[in-house]
């Protein structure tokens, strides 16, 4: 009799206990599953947004290249022909000084327009990038800025010319990043010196951008402006990591690490 009571008591206890434990287990398992699904959906959404942003940047670059090419090939050659016509005019009427003066003035204006068109074309798509690589284009660009402002820019490459191995995609993205950082320095930093150093660290490429300006409160990727978001997007596109080190009065430093694997990526631009 007693044995049966013990067994019954045990069953009466263990039954509901196991039932409760099963409920807890199932609820937690189900919630984890739902949570994993939600996270996967969020991740997919984020990836979709990123790929949209990348596609926008790529189409923007393609469009820049096309406009730059059109300006150079069509507008540039039309202006050259026009200038040639004024040369011919001088030859046709060499004894008429008024026509010569007028044609010289027109030629001067055409030259100015051609220079402007070339500058616009180059700013849209740096022509040296595909031919001579990032370092040359960057130095050329920095020279131009140094000549037209008080900012002294120094570019050092200790990376055993590793930049020459870089794909056009990576080169263009890094060039745009440097353009954005320099624009920020000129607009906000009141800096006198900028150093861009390129080094090879193990298998990676380390690029440091440093100015001696007034710095800012932004020390992380969060809270950055639109320009820095573009920087982040472009660096993400080529698989680069970056960190910002800055504080008021302490200048502005961006350390970029580009894995060597990104050098072999195929170009996405036309």
């Amino acid at each position: 009799m007693n044995d049966n009571i013990y067994v019954l008591t045990l069953i009466g206890t263990l039954g509901p206990l196991l039932l409760a434990a099963t409920i807890i287990y199932l609820v937690i398992k189900y919630q984890r599953k739902l949570l994993a699904q939600k996270l996967a959906a969020q991740k997919a959404e984020l990836q979709h947004s990123e790929s949209l942003l990348h596609a926008t940047i790529q189409s923007q670059e393609n469009e820049r290249i096309r406009i730059s090419r059109d300006l150079h090939d069509h507008v540039g050659s039309t202006l050259s022909s026009l200038r040639q016509m004024f040369n011919q005019m001088n030859k046709v009427a060499p004894d008429q000084p008024q026509i010569k003066t007028l044609s010289d003035t027109y030629k001067e204006n055409i030259d100015n327009i051609m220079n402007d068109v070339r500058d616009i074309s180059h700013s849209l798509s740096p022509p040296g990038l595909a031919l001579w690589g990032l370092q040359f284009t960057l130095e050329d660009f920095c020279d131009k800025i140094s000549r037209s402002s008080d900012l002294q820019i120094r570019v050092t490459d200790d990376g055993d010319s590793i930049l020459k191995q870089m794909t056009f995609e990576s080169s263009l993205s890094l060039f745009r990043v440097m353009q954005e950082l320099l624009a920020n320095t000129i607009k906000h930093a009141h800096a006198k010196n900028v150093t861009i150093s390129i080094k090879k660290e193990h298998e990676d490429i380390a690029i440091q951008y440093k100015d001696d300006g007034r710095g800012s409160e932004i020390s992380s990727k969060t809270g950055a402006g639109m320009g820095m978001h573009n920087v982040e997007s472009r660096l993400n596109m080529i698989g680069a990591q970056y960190e910002i080190i800055t504080a008021p009065g302490k200048g502005f430093v961006v350390n970029i690490t580009l894995p060597q694997s990104s050098l072999s990526k195929t170009t996405l631009y036309e």
Binding site: N2, I5, Y6, G12, T13, A20, L34, L35
Partner: protein
């Protein structure tokens, strides 16, 4: 099949009642890490500790502790109601919890006056309390499924505490119901108390883990 009497005395009279010191110590040491919604549980632990102490003192002096059990049942349910009122998100349920605790108090009074006097074990109200607490605990688990923003890891402390209540009251339900039937059969009564004490130990262990999780 049952634990030897001497061992059972130590287990029921010393080990299990004293084990509440573990979660209470954790409360004292880590108090600053706890959210305010844990306060009802802290009151519950201290109440249980004091109740264990009084039961031990009165029992040692040969005084019937059943009336203490009647009072403690009401107080315990009040505190558990307060705990779930803080924990549950459903405004509808929160609104009815105070009415439920008052209704339970009235049922306990009626039970003590007309059915199970203070000197007898309250085997009618204890299972009612158990059913209500099981309902609260399952409601909390259902809310966890519905509300995915409440990430499990963030609330794992409360999940352990809730599991403690659910497992203890589910396991004890039958024991509460049958205790009076076997109260005169010492061997069976002690066996029931042993199983109950084990469930209590399990609940305290889960409370301890839950409280520990808040610090992490």
């Amino acid at each position: 099949m049952s634990i030897p009497l001497e061992a059972s005395k130590i287990y029921l009279g010393i080990l299990v009642p004293i084990s509440i010191i573990v979660p209470i110590s954790l409360v004292i040491i880590n108090y600053k890490y706890f959210p305010s919604s844990i306060n009802p549980l802290i009151i519950y632990l201290f109440s249980s500790g004091i109740s264990n102490l009084f039961t031990k003192i009165l029992g040692s002096n040969g005084i019937n502790t059943m009336y203490l059990n009647h009072i403690y049942t009401v107080w315990e349910f009040f505190i558990i109601c307060y705990f779930y009122r803080e924990l549950l998100s459903s405004q509808k349920i929160k609104k009815y919890i105070p009415y439920l605790s008052v209704a339970f108090f009235i049922v306990c009074i009626i039970n003590a006056l007309y059915y199970q006097p203070l000197i007898k074990y309250n085997s009618y109200t204890k299972p009612i309390e158990a059913v209500l607490v099981i309902w609260f605990a399952i409601t909390y688990l259902m809310e966890l499924i519905e509300n995915l923003d409440e990430i499990i890891d963030k609330n794992s402390g409360f999940i352990y505490i809730n599991s403690g209540f659910l497992l203890y009251f589910s396991g004890s339900f039958v024991l509460f119901t049958i205790f009076n039937i076997f109260v005169n059969n010492t061997a069976v009564a002690i066996a029931i108390l042993d199983v109950h004490a084990t469930l209590l130990l399990l609940m305290y262990a889960l409370f301890t883990i839950g409280l520990w999780k808040f610090k992490k």
